[in-house]
């Protein structure tokens, strides 16, 4: 597992900047400099086969953009994307198609991500057809296998049903079946359980965990919910305002976080056990504007430990303890 050969997917200095709209005349006369929303600004990480890595952060932190850019669903502004040792950042046509044949995504809302007019079979077989994988005879077999793996059982009974005949949990399982039918090496799961009821969430989380093991899939799990991240992720990253600010094994990031933001994020999560009293620490302010992000450390305007240095110098990600990185001048 620790062998660098088993690295399935990696990004280096990934950037995604969105150009800000400006008035037509301004653009024509170049009166104003083009401004950008720096949604993702220099993010690097790698994922091994069978590993689940989580990205947490508030809305606007750039976590979803990382997931989308990683799959080349958004075009990166800068940086490199490596898949199975090959730089795919600028691939197009057949070569991009070849990458997409091995990388899949599951979205947050199974009510919107499935075609309501496609039956279960049609939905799941589509990735095989699009990617020209297998023969027609093999298709049925693979669809049944994917449904079985997604724990939609018995799969035969579901083939001709439509999404509206399924419950929320079953729909998300269908979305998972569709994603795993091509046995991807890399899977992005963007808030896959946040729309589901608590009683159903656990099943989906257990399923993802199991799939990463049986299929050796590398999973990038994007979520705002640290408690689900703690449950399924081997490693966890925290993002703040487009920057990766902490990365390490999930238990160390959650039990002994280094970055003040991660610490506050963890303290903000309520506790279900009435016997555990949580100390409430309130973080003032809001996620900064990403057009003109704060100088130095982007968290400095809200940080309780802010120093002069934080206002001018941007901290880089440092290995504070073995395999635990944080971007903070305190360390």
């Amino acid at each position: 597992m620790n062998d660098s050969n088993s690295i399935v997917f990696a990004v280096k200095d990934l950037q995604k900047w969105y150009p800000l709209q400006q008035g037509f005349i301004d653009a024509l006369l170049k009166r104003e400099k083009q401004q950008f929303v720096r949604a993702v600004d220099g993010v690097s990480f790698s994922i091994r086969a069978g590993e689940i890595i989580g990205i947490v952060g508030e809305s606007g932190s750039g976590k979803t953009t990382v997931g989308m850019t990683a799959l080349r669903l958004y075009e990166p502004t800068g940086g490199t994307i490596t898949f199975m040792g090959e730089d795919i950042t600028t691939h197009s046509g057949d070569r991009l198609q070849n990458f997409r044949r091995q990388a899949q995504i599951i979205f947050q809302n199974p009510y919107e991500s499935l075609n309501p007019r496609s039956t279960v079979f049609e939905s799941v077989v589509e990735p095989l057809r699009l990617n020209k994988i297998g023969t027609k005879d093999e298709h049925l077999e693979r669809v049944l296998q994917a449904l079985e793996r997604a724990e939609i059982s018995p799969p035969e009974n579901f083939l001709d049903r439509y999404p509206h005949e399924l419950s929320g949990g079953q729909r998300q399982r269908l979305a998972i079946a569709r994603a795993i039918v091509i046995e991807p090496k890399f899977l992005v799961a963007d808030e896959p359980v946040s729309m589901l009821d608590v009683s159903i969430r656990a099943g989906i989380l257990n399923l993802l965990k199991q799939l990463s093991q049986t299929l050796e899939t590398a999973i990038l799990y994007v979520s705002h919910d640290l408690s689900t991240v703690r449950y399924i992720c081997d490693r966890t990253m925290t993002m703040y305002a487009g920057k990766l600010i902490e990365l390490g094994d999930t238990n160390t990031v959650i039990d002994e976080p280094f970055h003040p933001y991660t610490q506050l994020l963890i303290k903000a999560i309520p506790e279900v056990d009435p016997d555990v009293k949580r100390e409430r620490v309130l973080l003032e302010g809001e996620v900064p504007n990403l057009v003109n992000p704060p100088t130095g450390c982007r968290f400095h305007p809200r940080c309780p430990f802010v120093m002069d240095r934080c206002r001018v110098e941007e901290p880089s990600l440092q290995e504070v303890k073995p395999k635990h990185w944080a971007a903070c001048h305190l360390y």
Binding site: G169, S199, I200, T228, L265, E271, V272
Partner: protein, 350 residues
């Protein structure tokens, strides 16, 4: 006399397919100064219950049975005109989405002023002064009263709605998922603010949420709803420590925790019931690992199992055993296998 007394409440929606009973025979009381939570999954009837109490049901919904008694007045059948004498003054509302609840083209201060002036005859200066005090109470800068909603962030808008709900000093505030649309940190700020105001002003609060941890940390008493019915109702501590109903046990075991040892998450098999074809007997029997013949045939009545602790399960005496066995994930999985077959017999299309 209780501040709010809900008796045998039944709420139905008229749908094209027929009548849907969203809230079924619900009774409870809220005393002055109590912080009350209602938890449930989607379709449990929790929001419908809140809206029925506020008499804010959509057009196709109506109270079919039962009574809502607020401060000794039975408001169940009151007209809008009659209701306007109690709305805001005796009970108010914090809605879920602050984005939709505010008028985008009116200044925030004017909107608060308007809601006060609808009920009281006060000058603009006096209204703005009071709005300023409310702003301070919810942690907003009174200088921003003249701002428009778009100049506020999501969390700040939610604070505005809390300020508004307090503007006429009501006894009861009903909050329907007030933090669901917000981020973790902002959510924590808002819940902390609500908690402090509740304690400081001794308001009664009814908080509707799907998040059991929010209830665990904030509410004095908790109602657990399932399929339109109350399945368990007690002081929050005992409810979470010593649950009697298998659904409450399942809900707790399905909830991922951030502190303490990592435990296996156990999902409750199946999904919440379709109320157009509600299961017979106990509505949870299709997902319950402890279900027996009796549960399929006979509907359990909510009874007091311990002083102040109510549960609607046929087997309160087996609760200690249930609590132990519910921690076994295998048990819940087996429940699914048998129950699926049963479901298929009853409803071939699902």
């Amino acid at each position: 006399m209780s501040l709010l007394d809900v008796r045998n409440l039944e709420v139905v929606y008229q749908l094209r397919k027929g009548l849907l009973k969203a809230v079924d025979n619900v009774s409870f009381t809220i005393e002055k100064g109590e912080y009350f939570g209602i938890v449930g999954e989607s379709g449990s009837g929790k929001s419908t219950l809140a809206r029925a109490i506020l008499r804010l049901l959509p057009k196709n919904g109506k109270i079919a049975n039962g009574q809502i008694i607020l401060n000794g007045k039975d408001i169940t059948q009151w007209s809008d005109r009659q209701l306007s004498t109690v709305r805001w003054r005796e009970m108010s509302f914090i809605p879920q989405s602050a984005m939709n609840a505010l008028d985008p083209v009116a200044r925030i201060g004017d909107q608060i002023l308007e809601s006060i002036q609808a009920h009281e005859n006060i000058t603009k200066e006096e209204g703005y002064r009071r709005a300023g005090e409310l702003f301070k109470m919810v942690g907003l800068d009174p200088n921003r009263l003249r701002d428009y909603p778009h100049q506020f962030s999501g969390g700040m808008r939610q604070r505005v709605l809390i300020a508004m709900s307090l503007s006429l000093n009501p006894d009861l505030i009903v909050a329907d998922e007030p933090t669901t649309a917000l981020d973790v940190i902002v959510k924590d700020q808002i819940l902390d603010r609500i908690d402090r105001i509740q304690k400081q002003l001794q308001k009664s609060l009814l908080l509707v949420t799907h998040d059991i941890s929010v209830v665990a940390e904030n509410c004095d008493k908790t109602i657990v709803m399932y399929g339109g019915k109350i399945v368990e109702y007690a002081a929050t501590g005992p409810l979470l420590r010593q649950a009697y109903h298998p659904y409450t046990l399942g809900l707790k075991n399905a909830f991922p925790r951030l502190r303490g040892p990592i435990q296996e998450l156990i999902s409750i098999p199946g999904s919440p019931p379709d109320l157009m074809n509600a299961p017979s007997g106990c509505r949870f029997h299709t997902r319950c690992p402890f279900a027996q013949e009796r549960c399929i045939e006979e509907e359990p009545i909510i009874t007091e199992v311990e002083p102040g602790h109510y549960s609607a399960c046929h087997f309160p005496e087996l609760a200690p055993e249930f609590r132990e066995r519910a921690a076994d994930g295998q048990l819940w999985k087996q429940a699914r296998i048998t129950k699926n077959r049963e479901l298929q017999v009853r409803k071939p299309s699902v």
